[in-house]
Amino acid sequence: MLQKGDKAPAFTLYATPDQKFSLTELKGKNVILAFYPADWSPVCSDQMALYNETLKFFNRYDAAILGISVDSKWCHLAFSQSRKLHFPLLADFEPKGDVSKSYGVYNENEGESDRALFVIDKDGIIAWSYLSPAAMNPGADGILDALESLKQKTK
């Protein structure tokens, strides 16, 4: 798993059925990557629903959040609509789990991403990472603490 100080690997993944999204599009912003095992499973749903409510706190730190799992773009679309999510879910679908693997958070046994969080600074360097037990929703406090210390550093 990539750690603080590592360069965040670039990627381009489907965000909607007809639109791809690249990490480079967020250059100059802080970025939160939330890898999670699967759409629809109860814990993930709570985690994404929580981040949906905490977007305004992320905004205060000039940070954008991206959810990433191996589910397809169509599955993400249905899940996102059902939960009324206001941030993109990216499909790490083909080649399966490629981006998750590049961040070192792919579970080969399950064929799913681990539940892992990364905060990437405005220069594309990982400022904080956290691997959560798969069944545990890690909340948003760690993310906010990491964003807060980034803000302190750049002062």
Binding site: G139, D141, G142
Partner: protein, 173 residues
């Protein structure tokens, strides 16, 4: 994660029981959340069983995107607090979760004897919404990851209301 209650309980919080109690129990809850509705009678049972040993604080954690009336309900309890009827409003909402909408809240306010004109004016006050939002932010900062979330003496408790009851029962025995 770290999961300590931030900020600590203060006089700004709504609390039941005596401060000197050995167990300070804080719930972050959402009035429209069915799990919080299910936890409600268990909290009552805890309060009844352990009496003066428990100091209970409720903080708002409305998940407004999935629960359209959660914020309105939280504000309604804050408006009731201005008429010294916070807990009556809290209780009646959880006891009638199925009728939770704007009209339902008005009815409940009437049932517990709030002065309706004042209530209707108060629910529009920005500082009440700000108070609910401050609760929410404190929850996020404290590691709340869903509702209900409980903290005992400032530490996050990983479990639901029934686990809480069983744990207290064991410690008491």
């Amino acid at each position: 994660m770290s999961s300590h209650l931030k900020p600590a309980v203060s006089e700004k919080d709504h609390a039941e029981g005596t401060k000197a109690a050995t167990v300070q129990l804080v719930e972050y809850g959402d009035y429209e959340c069915p799990h919080c509705g299910a936890a409600y009678p268990v909290i009552k049972k805890i309060q009844k069983t352990f009496g003066s040993q428990v100091y209970f604080v409720f903080r708002n954690f409305p998940l407004s995107e999935i629960h359209p009336y959660a914020m309105a309900a939280a504000i309604a309890t804050e408006a009731a607090a201005l008429q010294n009827k916070y807990w009556q409003m809290h209780d009646i909402i959880f006891e009638n979760q199925e009728m939770l909408d704007n009209e339902g809240l008005q009815q409940m306010a009437g049932t517990i004897g709030l002065e309706i004109k004042k209530f209707q004016k108060d629910i529009l006050r920005e500082e009440l919404q700000a108070k609910v939002e401050a609760d929410f932010e404190s929850g996020v900062r404290s590691g709340v990851n869903g509702t209900p979330s409980f903290f005992i003496n400032g530490n996050k408790f990983d479990g639901g209301a029934n686990d809480l009851y069983n744990m207290l029962k064991e410690n008491a025995g």
